[in-house]
């Protein structure tokens, strides 16, 4: 296995190549999702998970053009750990767009953090564990963070801590219902249709409501997560991010 990783590392050489053209934001977005689901298990969310290989700097040993990168993503590289991937040319192109975009971005938090101190903040001052679950411990009301370090880059995690409302994925949207007798329930929206709505409420109950029996119902446009801007110092945020980055869950064989 180690030999294979070394072989993969040889694919990439220094020498930054500029993006060949502007990429649509939706391509980058889609590419990011695909990268996380297809590539990040080995390469990590920042693209630097394989020793000696850093996909996030726009430096590639065996490829320079987008087309060559697409070919490598789809066909893999024989006799290395880089396998062929069952992605369409369009999706492979989106992954390239994503890699080009993160090469142009800030890589990490401004301050180097300490994961151990970050865990203490997670459990203590930040009370993150009052909503989030890690490795089977903690509630289910917020997104499970067990593998968040394999899914989000440090800059994204930092942004979520300081400005949680900036990006709320559709499957993390909150929804609020008020029954005819005035009882209010706010929870994570799991599904809805013309007649009904399904939530996971704050007590971790799977709730299903008939809209005809509700006095009102609506999306909650703000994130239920508080902002930690001004509540945690820059160092504490960096520590917390370091801890979250370390959460990789089970490593795929």
């Amino acid at each position: 296995m180690r030999a294979l990783i070394v072989a993969l590392a040889l694919l990439f050489v220094p020498g930054t190549l500029p993006a060949q053209h502007e990429y649509p934001a939706t391509d980058v977005e889609n590419g990011g999702r695909l990268f996380l689901s297809t590539c990040a298990a080995c390469h990590g969310p920042d693209g630097d998970g394989v020793a000696g290989v850093d996909l996030g700097r726009g430096q590639f040993r065996r490829a320079s053009t987008d087309e060559e990168l697409v070919a490598i993503i789809m066909k893999g590289i024989p006799n290395t750990a880089m396998p062929p991937n069952n992605v369409s040319p369009v999706n492979a192109g989106n992954i390239v767009a994503y890699l080009r975009s993160i090469a142009a971005e800030k890589r990490s938090t401004s301050v180097a953090g300490d994961a151990g101190r970050g865990k203490a903040i997670f459990d203590g001052k930040g009370s993150c564990g009052s909503c989030h679950r890690v490795a089977g411990i903690g509630p289910r009301t917020g997104p499970d963070l067990t593998t968040i370090g394999g899914q989000r880059r440090a800059v994204e995690l930092e942004r979520s801590i300081l400005d949680p409302g900036a990006v709320v994925l559709p499957n993390h949207r909150s929804f609020r219902v008020v029954t005819r007798d005035g009882a209010t329930t706010t929870g994570q929206l799991l599904n809805h249709d013309l007649f009904s709505v399904q939530l996971l409420d704050a007590k971790e109950r799977l709730m299903s409501f008939q809209k005809s029996e509700l006095r009102e119902y609506a999306f909650v446009d703000t994130s239920p997560m508080p902002s930690y801007k001004g509540k945690l110092s820059a160092e504490e945020v960096a520590d917390l991010v370091s801890y979250l980055v370390s959460l990789k869950g089970q490593v795929k064989p």
Binding site: H21, T26, D27, N171, N191, D193
Partner: protein, 547 residues
């Protein structure tokens, strides 16, 4: 009476019964006189998807209950509309198995299985939208470029031909229900994403011999060929994948034509690209073009004009007029004179940002800059259109035209280079969702209304004015059926089957069928009892009033 005397009488009775069992074209033409049957894809040659049955009413529709379910042995989308002939229901189990069953119980009489060539590559699912019938023969066009006739009594093949030039490995595929006109079976080819050259062709119902062919892209020397730059006409798409209509008085058959290719990059095909995104009116005997109307010239948004041409005789500005009504994927609702093709009315039925208006001839006035681009351009309606192939309905009772609609729906159109390689997608880009994570065909729905929703929209057919709207939270691929008793049936991606009041849009009844409705409902009756059938998920459901 002696046996000798009885015999001739017996022969006469049998002959009459046999004749009655024949679905003559005369019966198809007068389908409204036998509303217990559903003899063609849209229920009649005028394609109104309007049943004359009146047993189910707004007052009693709440008593509908499930009579039977046919579970198809296919995980593909169930897009077929069934036929019903005198108590026998014929349907297609995707991709190309024909099933005959008792329309009152769902019990199967026979199944004919066709295994399409693995070379077939329909763009958007190995689907089939139904059958046609004439005499005692059923007709099915297949995704591997074949047309076949089966004996309606036992499913035995009568003939089975490879349609000339319809090579599945090059992207040609038939997904539509054929249209029978007189003694001919008419079909068209899908494949607009593969650089095909589209066509409509008619075949002798008895022999399968091709009678005429109309290429949806004119060849060199033919009028319209000049609307394609260079050789782009050879691989320009212009597919046909929804059943047309027929007007017996003018002997014209009408067909909607699909997008030009490459879909999202028109650089190589300068010009209007006739007859892509048009309706063509063809002489039903010869296939000769009588008139055409192009909804979206030089399209780069994949706005196929592949909708059912709905024909009606209406009062128009005080005079009776033979019209064609058309809610187009491009977001406009049109009314045309169906004899001449004259443009009578055009009005958006959803928001449109790529055109500012239609001119006096019905041609869209384009908004500058609203074209696919390398960095992406947000266009509304989005790639699936304000509506798509989903069957609309026209009710002569209400005068309303009912459209399965996608509202607040946008796409980001990204233009890329396109290179033609036989059998591969020739797209020149790809539309993107503008709401990441919401529209990935998932079972769960997290969408907000401003991100898009499905609806049945009812327009006054004379003015295009919105009369009412029935909103769903998710989009809809379901067709609409109306009845003479003012009940409207439709469904959606949420998996419900609805009955609405056709006059007001009020919800009268619903059933949770647990799967997307991706076809149009239809109605029939057996033994004096009215049924309404609809496919959802991978099954066909039939409902009737509780007894």
């Amino acid at each position: 009476m002696t046996a000798r005397r009885l015999l001739p009488l017996f022969v006469v009775v049998c002959a009459a019964a046999s004749l009655r069992a024949q679905v003559t074209f005369d019966r198809i033409l007068r389908a409204d006189q036998e509303p217990h049957n559903w003899l063609s894809y849209s229920g009649s040659v005028h394609s109104q998807r309007h049943s004359r049955l009146t047993q189910i009413t707004p007052q009693n529709v709440g008593n509908l209950e499930l009579q039977w379910v046919f579970q198809s042995r296919s995980l593909e989308k169930y897009e077929a509309t069934s036929l019903v002939v005198d108590g026998v229901l014929y349907t297609v189990q995707a991709p190309n198995d024909v099933v005959a069953m008792d329309a009152a119980t769902g019990r199967v009489f026979w199944t004919y299985a066709h295994n399409p060539s693995p070379q077939s590559r329909p763009c958007c699912g190995r689907v089939n939208r139904g059958l046609a019938i004439l005499g005692e023969s059923l007709f099915m066009a297949t995704i591997d470029g074949r047309l076949m006739a089966l004996d309606a009594k036992n499913g035995q093949p009568l003939w089975n031909i490879a349609v000339d030039g319809a090579r599945p490995e090059a992207g040609y595929a038939f997904t539509l229900a054929p249209l029978v006109v007189k003694d001919k079976v008419i079909i068209g080819t899908a494949g607009g994403e593969y650089g095909i050259r589209g066509f409509i062709a008619a075949f002798d119902a008895r022999s399968g011999k091709e009678a005429w062919r109309f290429y949806t892209i004119p060849g060199q020397g033919e009028p319209g060929n000049e609307t394609w730059a260079g050789d782009s006409w050879k691989i320009g798409g212009a597919s046909v994948w929804i059943t047309g209509s027929f007007d017996p008085e003018s002997n014209l058959t009408y067909w909607g034509i699909g997008n030009p290719g490459p879909d999202w990059n028109g650089d190589s095909r300068g010009g209007d690209n006739l007859y892509s995104n048009s309706v063509v009116a063809l002489d039903a005997d010869t296939g000769k073009l009588k008139w055409h109307f192009q909804f979206s010239p030089h399209d780069e948004f994949d706005f196929d004009a592949v909708q059912v041409p709905v024909l009606a005789d209406v009062m128009w500005t005080g005079f009776p007029r033979k019209v064609m009504m058309w809610a187009n994927r491009n977001g406009y609702f049109y009314v045309l004179d169906r004899t001449t093709g004259e443009f009578l009315l055009g009005k958006p039925f959803v928001e449109v940002n790529w055109a500012s208006r239609l001119d006096e001839k019905g041609r869209p006035v384009r908004v500058p800059g609203m074209v696919p681009s390398r960095e992406g351009t947000v266009i509304t309606p989005g790639n699936q259109g304000g509506t798509n192939w989903y069957s609309p309905s026209f009710s002569p009772e209400t005068g309303f035209f009912y459209i399965p609609s996608w509202v607040n729906y946008t796409s980001q159109y990204v233009k890329q280079d396109a290179e033609y390689v036989e059998g591969r997608v020739y797209g020149g880009g790809a539309p993107r969702t503008t709401v990441p994570g919401v529209r990935a065909g998932q079972l769960l729905n997290f969408a907000k209304e401003d991100e898009g929703y499905g609806a049945v929209r009812a327009l006054d057919a004379r003015t295009g004015e919105l009369k009412w709207e029935f909103k769903m939270t998710d989009f809809t691929d379901a067709g609409v059926l109306t009845t003479a008793s003012n009940v409207l049936f439709s469904g959606g991606r949420e998996g419900y089957f609805y009955a609405l009041d056709a006059r007001t849009g009020a919800l009268l009844w619903k059933a949770a069928l647990g799967g997307r409705v991706v076809s149009g409902p239809m109605s029939y009756s057996v033994g004096g009892r009215q049924y309404v059938a609809v496919a959802a998920g991978n099954a066909l459901f039939s409902f009737a009033l509780r007894q």
